[in-house]
Symmetry: D2
Subunit: 433 residues, 4 copies
């Protein structure tokens, strides 16, 4: 977790204080359920809630842990210091540390997912707005980095919208994947704790009971969660890369927003670097790197081993914090992206009219010219554009053989941009409904 | 794709012949739609279906490709050889190669997913059967590879069932992810082809139209698909590792099935190696290794670049073929796994009764003995078991201080295995409904 | 291994026939050593060499394996069919299958490495030639895709040369890593075979004896080998990406070579796609994806498990074949890359002279103008270039405040490209010696 | 970087204070070189050293950066505050931020490598000591987790020694890889700074000049560095896994050291969990996950983009800190590992004498019994051991058919452990020289 790539709302989820608060709630709810079952006295369950508004002393807990070498015991000891040793004596009864730790991790991941979903909403809103704004802003579509046929900037934003919207759906599924809790005791048999406790705690914590756990919640859920973040990060990289391409000096169809006062941009006005989207490219790698270890974590020996734990201590916070930061940075970039429609047109016309050559070829064929002859006709005029900088339409109009097959009007019509944008509305309807 | 780790049904999906068949169907359905729209003559559309029952000559297509250097053109040329040049002249009109290639890839991935879902069903059926069979087969639960508390073999199978069932759900989602097709032309604008063609083709091929494509279908879909296979492979590794552990000489709670005649097993009857599950461990790595490249494939330059293609030529077949083979091997291993319940009991009792020490500790506390004293009482008897091989229950019964707190019956009750298995039914109901 | 991305010299290494030939040589050399030690009769060792020029019948070996379910036994049975049962009875004595299999794998990897080193030599030769050719071909250096200061195309080639040369050194180290063999018996204790046999066999096969093996050769060696290929593939992607950038329509500083007859390039002369370097980008991912599984292979249980085997059956051939193909493709691209020096100049001058603004700023400061004033002077002239398309030098010369600080000669000197290329020779001397 | 998995010596390298100190030294040495070249006045170079013993005020620098949005400028501003604005005016002349940042990163990585090499030395010393201690401690060798033939614990330690020693050599190479610096200006052309400055700075900082850089030092170096750490982490996991296996309840051939007072171990004396080695297994994944992003970082656009930076901000500290911690933890585990030779013998004899069956089979064959008959003889006695718990040697001695071929002495000799350990000395000589 790198401070400069962090937002406080997300880092707060991973604060020790938050963790202890969740531990506390789990223990308190478990006591409630046990009291209701008659397993422990009601007054002991009630007593636990005395700490409801207490801010736990993280330093004190650390101090105890330095002695006990066990974080959950340290916390329970501190809790007993607050509510009284006697009152606390049934807290955690029949539970294992993993019951608390694993349920807590999932609460944290669910909360993280909720923030990330909100982040996605911001990205989606920005993409939609810019898509509508530039629905008809024509620019050249490119395959292999080479001019192909016209498209619109709105379509570009729309496809990113559709991609991120799929990401949002996946994120909701991923949230569902890890929204389970387990209070099932030593090896998951409920030998020392009634399943009703698990049900109550999960219900209170916004989780579903894990249908079958061992000492731990199965890690395929977490693997799927991190894999999903990896896919979203990859989509983010896709958008970032498009912007980086658009901003390069020779293209200059868009620029990341530069505030007036931003240093160094005026003496070299061309030197506005797409540093935010380059940064997003790197952050995507950081998010993605958690996927494989999360998958390696799935295999645990028998009813549990602790190999997954150190991995999760790192990738739990790091990956969610990084993606949260990155999605917000991405949203900001999109919201404020400076678009240069005139440059788009200029670029499209770099080889004057040549991007229409395929349409002309097709028209000639349809007008009865043989495929071979059509090709030669197009070719000889295309080469004049390519080699001498001529204008394609002008050359075609002046070519008698072409004119024998196509009227002036027919030729001119081939250069109508509307031909390429006629289904933009249809596609927008598909994407935005 | 390694022949020894392949099954014919899956490899058939990736045969050149299958690929050309799908290409053909896409082109033929597209002609139908275009004829219906009045874009091409109905007789030309009809003519394409003359090749319906023709087996395409792969060698001939390769021969043409050697000249044209373009696989789709080579195919179309060959198709024209079959149905006639004139009849074929509207085939592929307004389409790009990517329309055919990308839609075909998704058809193949959907079919692969269908096989994989069936594979999962076989694994699930095996797990369920073995779970029911060994619902009450007690064995020791282990955390960190160390004996913890009793559980049952049925619970082990059940949790693998639940995990694989989640995998099955994910696989269905993954299938959904890639069940789209695109017939949207050069840069995805439908400039040269009506969206109705796409709808018709997709409908016929069992796909949904990609709401917005560029020249290609967006690769986040494929990334999610391969990520899902990676998670399933990791779950498979989880099961395989459990079996490898169970089979080791000192544990011997289960063995992969050895046919009577299998060489070498009799002179060294202990030397039955869990080679199938070890193999599954390796195959899981092979499936998983496609996840990162599939994610790297998401970022394409502008409306498309071809960098994803070589990756997919490899991981498309390799990953699905490997996982298909592996899931079937896994199912076979589970179906025929030889279980040794008596060894499970023997292992559990290695330290005679010691796994019950925590229950005794709890009982003493509940009987009013202080935590410290309870601990000492348990400890002094536990050490006799550990150091001298004594029987824990016997020692407790003979310990006056223990007896002062607990009756013989109470002590004996603590060694009742039923205590640990009392919720097996509940858990089974959760898992199997 | 995808046929279209394969070269025969490399695939031959992984042919079953090659594998059996290596197995044979290992067994024959082992017999020689055992005979010399007096462990087996000399005539039996001699008899093995009767098969020296025999081509083994792969189909027959497969047939036997179908019965024995063991590849090495199948081979030995076939060998006995050739040299006689009695003569063959000491072959493989005291050895395990792994002795043969692991030593063979390393022989194959060493041979693969030798081809890859030769591939690197071809790439290096091409880079050096093009570097020298374009040592003084000026083009704009770019940071963040934005024009920065001038550099030369020769420097670009030179740095790729230096990077690939480091890759070559790493490859030689990687070859060294896996150039070991082991003939150490069941668990590597030499209980049934003398270490002298291992020494002799390794010596004959061009390997060093593995100082300490278990039943297998330790897999950290292979992990390092594949990691090294992954780094080289990444360098390859680096070069490929540069070329893809150079070829894009708006930049057009270079193009992959297109043969005259190559279809489709004339009617749309701008539509020459950098498909080879895009392909290399994808192939780099395929090479890189073997790195993590190779690292996961390092951990084997006790003296061996077979989990690594399936992974190596895939990545052994696939990764070396893919990288071999890719490096040769890369060499071809570099050798024939079409460079457009005039476009380089045109691009550099897109914003007429503006790339020199930093030098002017520095000159003003050095001439005694305050930092703030210097900045304002540069800025007001720069903005005319940026906004009105003026020429920077012309504007500066006409700016009285600038002229008060700098003479015409001084201003003109700031636009001298030689300033930027004055150390090219020094750098070339560093790189090429 | 997770505090509980960190050691102060390594984290100190990544402290902002350390970073600024290195920046300072680079700038100061650069001034020295420039003064010597006559580019800047000697007194200005001398003035910079006034800050030699000053501890930079990190908070103040952060404060300035909040305004300038540029870390290097913020630092230079702070430096000017210390040594005087006028004195500082030539600092950084002709350099780019990357010159400072990239050279600094490599200084940090070199220092990190030095610590890691020392860590490896500690691991190696521990492995050697334990290898010598248990050179002759016999235990069963296992393939596939199944008993195979006897080996010694010393051989196990020796092979880990040899593996880690290879790792150490690789680490030295990796250190060499990143021990370069660059002071080459904007796009690496030395246009504004003499190569002699780079040479001087590198020399002072313990680096070699990067032969050819762009604005940045090429990232293949860093990829190789992190790949190497990934291989070492994998070897660490290999050792950790062996110990986890040895400690499991049914095997119990070794245990991680437990201090007397360590909680919970006495009431359940068998419940000593190999938590340290499980933790190392997870930490290995964390180290390994940096490999792919480091490789993805190799491809930068043209003369540089900043995508690598965020990745390195994370994996630079995280990976080196984690591996440093892990290697020390590993060393501690090995140094204090509790070995149970008697359990090793007991395990080996689980199937009384059966591990010798292959030797008996060979002896019968060599004594002239046919292969088939030998097999039957061994088999019928082996099955008595397997099924009835008989002692293999006793059964063989009592089998008349066996005795017809082998004398009592010959049979007994087959059970001599010395047969399996006779080459231990040879192997030790190979490993330890």
């Amino acid at each position: 977790m790198i401070p400069r790539y962090s937002r406080p709302e997300m880092t707060a989820i991973w604060d020790p204080a938050t963790k202890f608060r969740i531990w506390y709630e789990i223990e308190a709810h478990a006591c409630d359920a046990m009291a209701k079952l008659g397993v422990i006295p009601q007054e002991n369950a009630d007593a636990v809630w005395k700490a409801k508004d207490v801010e736990f002393d993280v330093a004190r807990i650390d101090e105890i842990e330095a002695v006990t070498k066990h974080d959950v015991i340290a916390f329970l000891t501190h809790l007993a210091e607050i509510i009284g040793n006697d009152e606390a004596r049934f807290v955690h009864q029949g539970m294992t540390s993993s019951d608390v730790l694993d349920t807590t991790l999932n609460v944290q991941l669910v909360r993280a997912a909720d923030i990330l979903i909100a982040d996605m909403d911001r990205v989606l809103a920005a993409l939609k707005e810019r898509a509508l704004e530039h629905k008809d802003t024509v620019r050249i579509g490119r395959s292999h980095g080479i001019h192909a046929e016209p498209t619109t900037m709105g379509l570009t934003f729309s496809r990113f919208y559709a991609e991120m919207d799929r990401g949002r759906t996946r994120l909701i599924n991923a949230r569902e994947e890890i929204a389970t809790g387990a209070i099932s005791g030593a090896v998951g048999t409920f030998a020392n704790i009634d399943p009703a406790v698990e049900e109550h705690v999960c219900n209170e914590m916004g989780l579903k009971p894990e249908p079958i756990s061992t000492q731990v919640i199965p890690r395929d859920r977490h693997a799927m969660f991190f894999a999903t973040l990896g896919v979203i990060a990859s989509s983010m990289e896709n958008i970032a890369t498009e912007i980086r391409h658009m901003q390069r000096t020779e293209v200059l169809e868009a620029e990341e927003f530069f505030s007036k006062g931003q240093k160094g941009s005026s003496a070299m006005p061309h030197k506005r670097n797409p540093v935010l989207t380059e940064n997003l490219t790197g952050l995507a790698r950081l998010v993605r790197m958690s996927v494989v270890p999360a998958m390696e974590n799935v295999t645990l020996w028998h009813e549990r081993d602790i190999s997954h734990s150190s991995v999760e201590r790192a990738i739990g916070p790091d990956t969610t914090v990084t993606l949260d930061f990155a999605l917000n940075r991405l949203a900001g970039v999109i919201e404020k992206l400076v678009i240069y429609p005139e440059n788009m047109l200029a670029n499209m016309n770099k080889f004057r009219g040549l991007v229409m050559s395929q349409r002309v070829l097709l028209a000639l064929t349809q007008a009865g010219v043989s495929r071979e002859d059509s090709y030669k006709l197009v070719q000889r005029n295309a080469m004049k554009v390519w080699e001498q900088g001529a204008d394609f339409q002008t050359e075609l109009l002046a070519d008698d053989d072409v004119r024998a097959a196509l009227s002036e009007e027919e030729i001119r019509e081939k250069f109508d941009l509307g031909y390429h944008t006629k289904h933009v509305e249809t596609i927008f309807a598909r994407v935005f409904g």
